[in-house]
Symmetry: C2
Subunit: 365 residues, 2 copies
């Protein structure tokens, strides 16, 4: 069956790396029908939403969605009412990636992390972040409501007054955690990892930590060969820097996972090699972790490797594992050889040159 693959290049280097990496699909000759859609800054200016209605329709019809990058100018523009066409409409900017994650219920944000020998101790692991609840659930406000003032007693609050405070609620649910943990253990099994680590803060957030721990161990009991470990998130951050090779899959709440995965991208050598997948039941979108990078857009300096690896993740998701392996292998080969690297990896090649080298390695490994 033909798979529908929707490509949304978006803004800045998102467009550039899409253009550089997508030819790999032609080389691989797969039963995939590629379609392009519009997203990004221009549509924010025209419609007050970076994701046009027509694109939502395309997304609904696709088997997988590939996203380049979306400019984060929208938020500032919305606040400053900078866009003439939108002035006075009092629009509130909602990050397009958060819209995608929430509306499509893409509950697992998967970020594989790895380092080749020669750049420090080699390792590979994956961070799986909860993507629909936690501190991103949307309960963040200035002022403490009267109805909470009995519960939230604190000396600092008494001194400040209820209106001179802000609260943010981290919401975690059995439904949300069960599907997340199940996914994490399945992913570990499918990718040859023998340990899943829950990174939270049970030594301080005792009750929510216990809640997550109980659910985690309940799910773990169904996965005999995989070790379930519970670890304080600060210790995980330290170990990701010092001994990342000790991890298999790390699973964490939305904001904690956000921090750990950017940190892990740092450990693996920057954002240039970091792909990601946002997975739901029967829905998924894929994007390199780097953003639209306005500082280097148009200069030919963007590293296309993350986009190649991201396409690989999308292909794997659509059932083309062998093709994904070929892409992964080609990227590793080019990085290992070190002859054709973009400046972020210490080389002097352009986006196009590095992409050509990877494409060649796909054809003749």
């Amino acid at each position: 069956m033909m798979k529908k693959f929707l490509v949304l290049p978006g803004d800045g280097i998102g467009r550039e790396v899409c253009e550089a990496a997508l030819p790999v699909l032609d080389l691989l000759n797969l039963p995939i029908q590629c379609e392009f859609g519009e997203i990004g800054w221009d549509f924010w200016c025209q419609e007050g939403n970076a994701i046009p209605a027509a694109t939502w329709h395309q997304i609904d019809m696709a088997d997988a969605v590939l996203l380049g990058a979306i400019s984060s100018k929208g938020k500032q523009a919305a606040e400053a009412e900078l866009v003439p066409t939108l002035q006075g409409r009092g629009l509130r900017y909602t990050s397009p990636v958060l819209q995608l994650r929430q509306r499509l219920e893409l509950f697992a944000n998967v970020r594989p992390v790895w380092r080749l020998a020669g750049q420090g101790m080699p390792f590979r692991c994956a961070i799986i972040r909860e993507n629909t609840e936690g501190l991103y659930a949307g309960f963040d406000r200035q002022g403490v409501p009267e109805s909470l003032s009995d519960w939230l007693t604190h000396p600092n609050l008494a001194r400040s007054g209820l209106d001179q405070a802000a609260i943010s609620v981290r919401l975690q649910t059995r439904f949300g955690l069960e599907r997340l943990f199940r996914y994490a253990f399945d992913y570990a099994g499918a990718n040859g990892y023998s340990r899943v680590t829950l990174a939270d803060k049970p030594n301080v957030l005792r009750e929510s930590g216990q809640f997550a721990t109980d659910i985690f161990l309940g799910i773990a009991a169904h996965y005999a060969g995989i070790e379930a470990e519970i670890c304080n998130v600060d210790a995980v951050a330290l170990d990701l820097v010092r001994q990342p090779q000790r991890f298999g899959v790390i699973v964490a709440e939305n904001l904690l996972g956000d921090i750990l995965s950017d940190l892990a991208a740092g450990v693996m050598g920057g954002l240039g090699l970091a792909p990601s997948a946002n997975i739901g039941h029967g829905r998924a979108y894929f994007e390199p972790v780097h953003g639209s990078a306005p500082d280097i857009a148009g200069s030919g300096r963007a590293n296309p490797a993350a986009m190649f690896l991201t396409i690989g993740m999308a292909l794997r998701h659509m059932g083309f594992a062998a093709a994904a392996d070929r892409i992964d292998g080609a990227v590793l080969q080019v990085v290992r050889q070190g002859r054709c690297l973009t400046p972020d990896l210490g080389g002097a090649s352009t986006t196009q040159d590095m992409a050509s080298a990877i494409l060649q390695a796909v054809t003749r490994p």
Copy 2:
């Protein structure tokens, strides 16, 4: 005036590094009266609190408190009712360091971070973490109370039911943030830093982010020569790994600061070189960031450098800056020479040997 310095060696390697490093006080010949007090696991077993009442009294009389480390066995023991003397008393374990921070209102947790040339790009910066509110304010529970069910509407919660969920509230107050930011800018000024970065998540936690941002910029306006920067915490985590030299002082909410400071300890080469200060108005305690380290306790492998640097921070706090400089200089010298290092730094020296080298460098720099 004679200063009162209370030393609480505590458990595990806490005792060992105190014993190894404290002789530096004799060498420096300062108007300090040193007193010892009891804290730790034994007192948990006897009194159901790791901090005995007599120690609280000593703390109240001291100008500064030095803490070695406290075993974290208490929590497990409390849960399992493992301690015969305490059985059936239904005691709840509260981390002694959290008790100290909250009861003494030590609102700023200061962790200087640095790396010498030769171990990667050299840098020095400091992480200042809010220490009394945020996600550590104590509002963490299983089950969503009816009174919140109007506000906390979320598809996952509807599917799970109010009792199959957990919530954790991050509370931030004007009072708490103003004193924190003021301290951070003062610290930057006093220590030669030209930038203070607020690490939060304003692009997602919009309202609390805006609240903190407004207060931050309000305080910053009083510090003309120091740049105020607001940054998403995930980007800060990435930059701490990739380009830590870009930071001066980083200031963050309690849990975010906890994660960033452990991550930064990783970047600087591990916990062996990481001191910390917990500062309030007229009160302070100082501790190395490493814990009691039961895995290496008693083996003579503990790195005493963090304790030396921690004593330095305490001396600086009590007004003995020149003495603190001598300790810092001696530690740097020994680390730089690389002849007498404990195993965590790649050497084969014992705690005592490395301490002796540092003591010698204090006497004859």
